[in-house]
């Protein structure tokens, strides 16, 4: 009986010894040491989940802009944006469904937050509609 108690205590100790407290943010996402903070790719899908871009997006990480040209006739009110970010980054606001990009004079802005959650960069999505 005495041996059993000692063995159990050892197992518990070894189990807890392996546990490490990883920091997480408000979204339950891991906070890492990474300071990279940029958009690496961007995609824009129409209501039919097919791309509306006519060519690859131009991402300026210095000016913090994403320039895209969409097809003539694109319904700008119902688009699904997709951002590809640097490792461990997150986006604010979150994309939860269709986004209305129809107000071309006031481009939508998205903030990229680095993996260490210390750096924030706000990108503007500038849309040009292809002429007919």
């Amino acid at each position: 009986m005495k041996h059993l108690i000692i063995i159990s205590a050892l197992i518990m100790l070894s189990a807890t010894a392996c546990k490490k407290d990883y920091p997480v943010d408000d979204d339950g996402l891991l906070i890492t040491p990474r300071a990279e903070c940029y958009v690496s790719n961007f995609e824009l899908l129409g209501a039919d989940y097919v791309t509306v871009l006519t060519k690859s997006p131009v991402i300026d990480t210095t000016a913090q802009t994403v320039n895209v040209t969409v097809q003539f006739g694109t319904d700008l009110k119902n688009l699904f944006p997709q951002f590809t970010l640097a490792t461990d980054c997150k986006l604010d606001p979150k994309i939860v469904g269709k986004v209305d990009f129809s107000d071309l004079a006031n481009p939508k802005q998205y903030t990229v937050i680095s993996g260490n959650r210390q750096i924030q960069k706000t990108y503007k999505v500038l849309i040009t509609v292809q002429p007919r």
Partner: protein
């Protein structure tokens, strides 16, 4: 103490030995004994929503031991009279070596009187599977329909099998509507028909969409379904017939090859529920750059109909397309 432990050990060994012996015992195979009564079984062969004008197909199997008797007749009773064309096969099929189903006539041609379809066996048959095709009548729209299959044998036995209830969809369907740029270009969702300009002028109040094809070098316009009320830039070179001015909300869809409309291998079905849950309030009134196997959800200006229009084919050379429509009356 020593004696007790020896006893426990021996008991354990004996139990283990018994278990091993029991585990090795093999049961002799026994030939199954067929039931000596008339038996039946049924399966529904069609899948997806049950649409008015379409068929629900069943395969009804019945059998009796040869020494007990033979099959005399098979009946199907539907709770709602089937539409014209409802019938039951009088052939029982087998699959030959080439994989082809070969039918053997086993009874007289089926007789349908109101809601009952009957086949009387004319050959000495003690097992058969007959197919039953129920054409869904308009009277069944939005209701449930059930079927009772029954068989009778020469020794006076009867047996029956209930199928259903099956809900009949509220929606309508029309397939293979030919449209062409500049001719049959004016589509009415209410009529599920494409009209030319002259007929469209006469039915101006029910024209919801204009089909057009444009091959532009600067943009991908291609095949399009555009509301008459849409911005003129989406109707290049179109002079609308007088009074054609409705605005229809549209949402493009791709990879939605409804099985009933596309008649392809995809097991996707658009049902009443899809139309009921559709929210078209914030959609544009045009859809351009459409192609074969694409589709468009639409809601008419008077909110009376929601529909899904599917492109079965699209021909750039002849500037034409073949469309199929599922339509739900709100």
């Amino acid at each position: 103490m020593q004696l007790q432990s020896t006893y426990i050990r021996d008991t354990f060994l004996l139990t283990a030995l018994l278990l091993i012996m029991a585990g090795c015992k093999k049961k002799d195979y026994e030939l199954p004994v067929p039931k000596d009564v008339l038996q039946n079984d049924c399966i529904k062969r069609t899948q997806g929503p049950n649409i008015v004008g379409q068929t629900i197909e069943f395969a009804y199997a019945m059998a009796i031991l040869a020494e007990k008797g033979k099959l005399v007749s098979a009946h199907v009773e539907a709770t709602i009279d089937g539409a014209a064309g409802t019938w039951m096969e009088n052939k029982s099929y087998y699959t030959n070596n080439s994989g082809v189903d070969v039918g053997i006539t086993v009874g007289s041609t089926s007789v349908t009187t109101k809601n009952i379809t009957t086949v009387s066996f004319s050959k000495d048959t003690n097992a058969a599977t007959l197919r039953y095709y129920y054409i869904i009548p308009d009277a069944a729209r939005g209701q449930s329909v059930s079927f009772t299959f029954s068989a009778e044998s020469s020794n006076g036995e009867t047996v029956s099998y209930k199928m259903g209830p099956y809900t009949i969809a509220k929606m309508d369907m029309k397939r293979n509507i030919a449209v062409s740029d500049g001719n049959l270009a004016y589509i009415s969702i209410a009529d599920m028909t494409a009209y030319n300009a002259t007929d469209a002028a006469a039915k101006a109040g029910s024209i919801d969409l204009v089909y057009l094809y444009r091959n532009l070098t600067t943009s991908a316009f291609n095949h399009a379904l555009v509301s008459p009320a849409a911005d003129a830039q989406y109707l290049p070179g179109i002079t609308l017939p007088g009074g054609v001015n409705r605005s229809t909300n549209e949402r493009k869809a791709f990879n939605l090859q409804d099985y009933n409309l596309a008649q392809l291998q995809y097991g996707i079905y658009i049902d009443d529920l899809d139309f009921q849950q559709l929210n078209m309030s914030n959609e544009p009134n045009y859809a351009i750059n459409l192609k074969q196997e694409a589709g468009v959800w639409v809601e008419t200006a008077d909110h009376k109909y929601r529909a899904y229009i599917y492109f079965n084919s699209a021909n750039n050379t002849s500037k034409s397309a073949v469309l199929s429509i599922k339509r739900y009356a709100m």
